[in-house]
């Protein structure tokens, strides 16, 4: 921890920390504990909650609907995290070795998906995937009419279509993160690799990849959690459909708590989701820890 503190007035420090800490405890930590409590009860939102122990967890985790929601999360992680991180690594390492004019412009554009409201993004992609939308129009224009379909309404394709929105959201972000990481690698390391006769691929694994380890950790943490918690895009594009082919845990939480009146079950899924997120957060922090 920081050792250059000059003020030793202990009590005063609490006054400075207290407002932020109480906001966080009241509106984040306390609701989290409440969620645990709800998850152990059967409650419809009115009346008295009935203690049921772990029964909500058992029921929900064995329900096909929730299982498929969790499975869809895994698929979405591939699209939200693995593909963008790989794309970002490859493109960033190809771009890194020289200064390019106009990079600022490209950076602005490539980061754009990160700031636009996910609801708006969902709306844009609803149109992209529409039966008369740009994707199908392009397919028809190049003679692939047979491939044209309402992508978000297709049982086989809807999940991948939603996943691709995730790739669109995070690939540029990953690339920009990695570019910043690569720019901090000691150029001497690249020169040394050159002298050793390393080709671009060995150079990538020997110099670039270890050099961007902290960025890799951050990118994976953010994007995997983004895939796990995804709600806005799914809500705006498919609402989990057709059938349950694109449902995700966050959507099941919403449905159970605010549509079906199964508050305890919704809370149980929420706790499972939080556990997954915490495991990812702590796991990545451990995996990508850098020693100073």
């Amino acid at each position: 921890m920081n050792t250059r503190s000059k003020v030793k007035n202990n009590r005063l420090a609490y006054l400075y920390v207290l407002p932020a800490l109480s906001a966080s405890l009241l509106f984040v930590a306390f609701p989290l504990l409440q969620t645990v409590w709800y998850s152990l009860h059967r409650w419809s939102g009115i009346g008295t909650p009935v203690w049921v122990g772990l029964q909500n967890y058992v029921t929900q985790l064995s329900s096909p609907r929730v299982q498929s929601a969790l499975y869809h999360s895994l698929i979405l992680i591939v699209f939200f995290a693995l593909i963008p991180v790989c794309l970002g690594l490859i493109t960033a390492s190809m771009l890194s070795s020289s200064r390019l004019r106009g990079l600022g412009f490209f950076r602005t554009v490539l980061f754009l998906p990160q700031v636009i409201a996910l609801t708006v993004t969902g709306m844009a992609w609803r149109w992209m995937y529409n039966l008369d939308g740009p994707i199908n129009e392009t397919l028809r224009a190049i003679g692939l009419d047979s491939l044209a379909r309402p992508w978000l309404g297709d049982f086989d394709w809807a999940l991948y279509a939603v996943g691709l929105v995730g790739t669109w959201l995070t690939a540029g972000f990953c690339m920009i993160l990695f570019l910043a990481g690569i720019s901090r690698i000691d150029p001497g390391l690249y020169d040394a690799a050159k002298i050793d006769g390393s080709g671009p691929i060995r150079e990538f694994f020997a110099v670039t990849l270890p050099g961007v380890k902290p960025e890799l950790g951050v990118a994976l943490t953010i994007t995997v959690i983004g895939g796990l918690k995804s709600f806005d895009v799914v809500y705006m594009t498919t609402r989990g459909g057709p059938g349950t082919s694109t449902t995700v845990p966050a959507l099941e939480i919403y449905r159970l708590a605010f549509v079906d009146g199964q508050v305890g079950s919704a809370a149980a899924i929420a706790i499972v989701l939080v556990l997954l997120i915490v495991i990812v957060g702590l796991g990545m922090a451990r995996l990508f820890r850098t020693r100073q």
Partner: protein, 304 residues
């Protein structure tokens, strides 16, 4: 600002959550890339930018198409129907939605930034018992999404008569954002030269004065970053607005858009115009202040 000259500047003790590395040389060795290499690089960048822009362009294009007739793909309308925006604005009551969004974002930004500055200052400059433990307790807010706590938030806020009010959304947002803000401001204050604080203390400045007269002014760029990020996050927040604000008169712009989709499913130009209206304030903010946004979101913590 070139990305190649940008480095995360963070204190070494935040390694777990912030991308931190010792500063290295600013200069890269000159490595010549042939003309074909440069072409390949611009091709990658151009293709990436193209793929990002296509959906955004297409929603703009379709928002200007005539309503009620089949719309064709990507083409820019021959006769742009700007009246679609007027119709979307009126049918969606966007004057109400946008002002609700502002009325929530403003207090969230002011209060969350103020609380973050205070706690970041204590964590950066003061010693106190339980410091590490309290810091760790704040950490959960960095990765916890509203999806995880939305269920009790709704019932608690309803019991407090705060559903359908701006505070019902603003208070949880403040509670969540102060985690990132505290981390961010702690790093910023840790990086100020200790001599400045010492000089002020020798002059008899009290901690409160040291913060507002010395540290706050020189850390202004870092404060600006969280001002902008909190605004964007609050503006874009969907789930909590969807759940807490069910009365149409209290909805925020993204929540209103969510309701709009359900009502006008097939009126693509109208929906597209509504989406563009929701996006514009944040996009304008981003384009004007993108340096802050990108720095905050890439160097910040595991909080998107």
């Amino acid at each position: 600002m070139s990305i190649l000259t940008e480095r995360p500047e963070v204190a070494p003790d935040t390694e777990a959550i912030v991308t931190s590395r010792p500063p290295s040389r600013r200069f890269r060795s000159v490595r010549r890339a042939g003309v074909s290499g440069v072409v390949a690089k611009y091709t990658i960048l151009g293709l990436g930018a193209f793929l990002v822009l296509v959906p955004l362009y297409s929603i703009l294009a379709v928002s200007l198409q005539p309503r009620g007739i089949p719309v064709a793909g990507l083409s820019w309308p021959a006769d742009p129907q700007w009246s679609n925006y007027v119709d979307a604005w009126n049918t969606g009551a966007f004057n109400v939605l946008l002002s609700n969004s502002v009325m929530i974002a403003l207090p969230v930004v002011v209060i969350a930034v103020f609380l973050s500055v205070l706690s970041g200052y204590a964590f950066a400059t003061m010693k106190f018992r339980g410091k590490e433990f309290i810091f760790a307790a704040l950490l959960i807010g960095l990765i916890l999404p509203f999806e995880g706590i939305i269920v009790p938030l709704y019932y608690t806020l309803r019991a407090l008569n705060l559903t359908n009010t701006m505070w019902g959304v603003a208070l949880p947002e403040i509670g969540l954002y102060v985690s990132f803000g505290t981390f961010w401001m702690r790093v910023a204050f840790s990086q100020t030269p200790p001599s400045l604080v010492e000089a002020a203390q020798i002059d008899g400045a009290r901690p409160w004065q040291v913060l507002w007269k010395v540290l706050f002014p020189i850390s202004w760029p870092s404060v600006m970053t969280i001002v902008i990020l909190f605004f964007i996050w609050s503006w874009n927040e969907f789930l909590i607005a969807l759940v807490i604000l069910q009365d149409p008169a209290s909805k925020t712009a993204p929540a209103g858009l969510g309701a709009f989709v359900g009502k006008y499913v097939s009126d693509v130009p109208l929906l597209a115009a509504a989406a563009v209206i929701v996006a514009v304030p944040v996009v304008v903010t981003y384009v004007l202040l993108q340096g802050h946004v990108i720095r905050g979101m890439t160097q910040g913590a595991v909080k998107e």
